[in-house]
């Protein structure tokens, strides 16, 4: 489905991704792990850039609109499916069909309040689920998520992960929860300082691999911070 070799990405002066080569096949469920600053989000954003025609992206930044209702925030996932006149009219008064669809979806995500509720009144966990709902409502074959469950409890996170798996052929997700990565994903990719440090198919991974990844990178960073001090 997608392949790249020796990818290098930079922010103004900082190296984010350092000559990375990767292939992801359609149908794979890929988890990306690594310490903060390892380049996970950058890699994910880049993947979305390449796959965007068939992918729904649930970014860490959420991109929610505080001034709009919950319904409208979720509906935004379907903007591409309709004519702009329909979209604008829907902004003024919701149409019945999308309203009931969004309602069903939100029930599944345990957003049990009236959809006219302004987004600014929601809690952090609720907001994250609204952002997830928007991505799900796009109904694409690929789901790209950047820690989409970070503000949720593990039980709900697991249930929602199943929902995402059920609705998408391919899933690429950055996770902070190592155990979920181990148990649910067919493939785990580990990044450290912009480089690929780990790429193991399901069944072969043990938590040792992961611990090595985290401790290794820590060991590499420590001397540098000491130098600064």
């Amino acid at each position: 489905m997608i392949t790249f070799e020796n990818l290098t990405l930079k922010y103004a002066d900082k190296l984010a991704i350092d000559s990375l080569s990767l292939t992801i096949e359609a149908g794979e469920k890929v988890a990306i792990i690594g310490t903060s600053g390892a380049g996970k989000s950058t890699l994910l954003a880049h993947l979305y850039l390449l796959l965007k025609d068939n992918a729904a992206y649930c970014s860490q930044k959420q991109g929610l609109v505080d001034g709009l209702s919950t319904y409208h925030n979720v509906y935004m996932g379907a903007l591409a499916k309709h004519h702009w006149v329909y979209n604008l009219a829907n902004l003024i008064t919701p149409f019945k069909k999308p309203l009931s669809e969004v309602n069903d979806l939100c029930r599944k995500l345990e957003l049990d309040f009236h959809l006219s509720k302004k987004l600014s009144t929601l809690s952090g966990g609720q907001r994250q689920r609204v952002a997830l709902a928007r991505a799900l409502y796009q109904e694409q074959s690929i789901f790209i998520g950047d820690e989409p469950f970070s503000a949720l409890d593990p039980i709900m996170a697991k249930r929602l992960l199943d929902l995402v798996f059920a609705r998408h052929e391919t899933v690429i997700m950055v996770l902070h929860d190592k155990s979920a990565a181990l148990t649910h994903f067919g493939r785990v990719i580990g990044l450290s300082q912009g480089q690929l440090k780990l790429d193991i198919p399901h069944g072969e991974i043990t938590s040792n691999h992961i611990d090595e990844l985290y401790s290794g990178s820590v060991a590499e960073i420590v001397p540098e911070t000491l130098n600064h001090a």
Partner: protein, 519 residues
């Protein structure tokens, strides 16, 4: 030198520097201004004013309800007109020509727009509504554009990739800023009420028509009543101006508009081809009559006007406006603190808030008028009037923000707590308002020109009074230039710093630069 200051005083922040600079400049300008106090025995007149306010006469004014309604109607239709004109322009605002056009339009006071339109449309509601719509539209264009620029881009990044441009724009950008745009329109409606009243000073059938006459002729019982009504009108906007009623008001406003005299296209033509030409060009009938001698005459006309009116007027305008700005800043700083619920008790805060309502509702003209009785005809009354009015407005807008701020759990509610927790959060916004108001103060010196302070507005008013439209227009152009320069400077001061703040808080994330990628 700035670098030195930063080096020796590392905690001396940007805003402290700007504040100090503002005060220094204003102090110099204040000492250069004419601030002599020369009223010897103002008491008998002030006593009559006080009596007027003790026993206001609400029945002295003819057609009172009509004039109140027309004040609302002109303001509303003016704002609607401004929106029709400003919203499309706000999308084109990144174009320099559009921005310059808007800056020029904004820089001319409503009164002068009305005096210009008066020549073309006569005493017609079109004159009044256009006089509000045009400068307001230009302001809307700029402010909406500013607000739109600040809308976060994160939403458009999460929208489906094939979303069409219009849906993307409305859902991803406009919906973010719509609440602040609506709040701004609401605030401008309040301003439009004031403008509408002020247009009465030159003959529109609003409350200002009677207000100005009453004060000018010393009918203080009537004047006080009108002023109280006007303050009440502004203070109760929230009650009578419901969103659901607005359409009704607009239709009613259109329906009850005073009769529009038929518009004569020849008047416009005459205004452009005859009225606004310098006197030496009036007798020119063919292009080939233009020779060196004529150009010389024209230059000496412009030169005389520039050195005898424009330049002195410009100097007085700047002296007055900058001194007033610093005073307004101080007034805003203190009154916003004492009307904030974070610092003052409920009683004090409500009292100061009521005071702010009165100060921001009363047109500067009336303040200047009263201070002139008290302090004599120097620049001081005008300064105080501008400072009080604008300071109250800035304080009002600042308090709206500070009252909704979150403070930490151990906030102590004292002045020190306020200065640590609240002030740093509201100060950049307060300074932004101060700089924005400078443009407004410059414009408003015009009205005080009508009271006899020799600002640019004074000379422009004289031009209109003496039916010398060419001089008036020449001076209006000078005013516009001054405003554009001021606008550029204040934008530079603000934008540099707002950018710094944004990068610090991480709102602006640098986009990743792709060096090499192979798919």
């Amino acid at each position: 030198m700035a670098a030195d200051v930063t080096k020796h005083y590392p905690f001396f922040s940007y805003w402290q520097k700007v504040t100090l600079l503002l005060w220094l400049i204003a102090a110099v300008f204040f000492t250069l201004s004419d601030t002599e106090i020369i009223s010897l025995e103002p008491w008998s007149e002030l006593l009559r004013m006080a009596e007027g306010f003790m026993t206001p006469d609400f029945f002295a004014t003819e057609y009172l309800l009509e004039s109140l309604w027309q004040t609302v109607s002109f303001a509303l239709l003016g704002v609607v007109g401004g929106l029709l004109f400003g919203v499309p322009l706000s999308f084109l605002y990144s174009n320099r020509l559009v921005a310059a056009f808007c800056a020029v339009t904004r820089s001319i006071h409503e009164i002068f727009w009305a005096l210009l339109f008066l020549q073309v449309f006569g005493l017609s509601p079109i004159t009044g509504i256009l006089a509000i719509a045009l400068p307001y539209g230009a302001t809307f264009a700029r402010v909406f554009n500013d607000i739109l620029i600040q809308a976060p881009h994160t939403t458009t990044q999460t929208l489906p990739a094939n979303t069409d441009r219009i849906s993307r724009y409305f859902y991803g950008r406009i919906s973010h800023v719509l609440p602040s745009i609506l709040a701004y329109v609401r605030y401008r409606f309040e301003c439009a009420l004031r403008s509408s009243a002020v247009l009465g000073f030159i003959g529109m059938p609003t409350i200002g028509f009677y207000l100005e006459t009453a004060f000018r002729q010393g009918n203080y019982h009537e004047g006080a009543a009108l002023l109280i009504l006007f303050i009440a009108l502004i203070g109760t906007i929230g009650y009578w101006c419901r969103p659901k009623l607005i359409l009704f008001y607009i239709l009613a406003g259109l329906y009850t508009l005073p009769t529009i005299p038929s518009v004569d296209g020849m008047l416009l033509w005459r205004f452009i081809t005859v009225d606004i030409l310098p006197p030496v060009l009036l007798h020119v009938e063919h292009w080939h009559q233009i020779d060196l001698n004529l150009v010389n005459q024209l230059l000496s006309w412009a030169q005389k006007l520039f050195f005898t009116q424009a330049l002195p007027g410009l100097a007085i305008t700047l002296l007055l406006a900058l001194s007033a700005l610093a005073m307004a800043h101080i007034i805003a700083l203190f009154s916003s603190a004492f009307s904030s619920r974070k610092l003052a008790g409920p009683v004090l805060s409500s009292c100061v808030k009521f005071g702010l309502l009165v100060l921001r509702s009363v047109p500067e003209y009336i303040f200047a008028f009263i201070f002139m009785m008290l302090l004599g005809p120097s620049m001081l009354p005008a300064m105080l009037a501008l400072a009080l009015h604008n300071g109250a407005l800035i304080a009002y807008l600042t308090v709206r923000q500070s009252d909704t701020l979150e403070v930490s759990a151990d906030y102590n509610g004292r002045l020190d707590g306020y200065c640590y927790e609240v002030l740093p959060q509201i100060y950049p916004n307060l300074m932004g308002l101060v700089f924005y108001r400078f443009e407004v103060i410059l414009r408003e010196t015009a009205i005080l020109g009508m009271l006899g302070v020799a600002t640019l507005g004074f000379y422009i008013d004289s031009g209109f009074a003496e039916i010398r439209y060419s001089s008036a227009l020449f001076l209006l152009v000078c005013t516009a230039m001054l405003n554009i320069v001021v606008d550029m400077i204040s934008r530079r001061l603000l934008i540099t710093n707002i950018n710094q703040q944004m990068t610090c808080s991480g709102n602006h994330q640098a986009s990743p630069k792709t060096l090499g990628s192979a798919c």
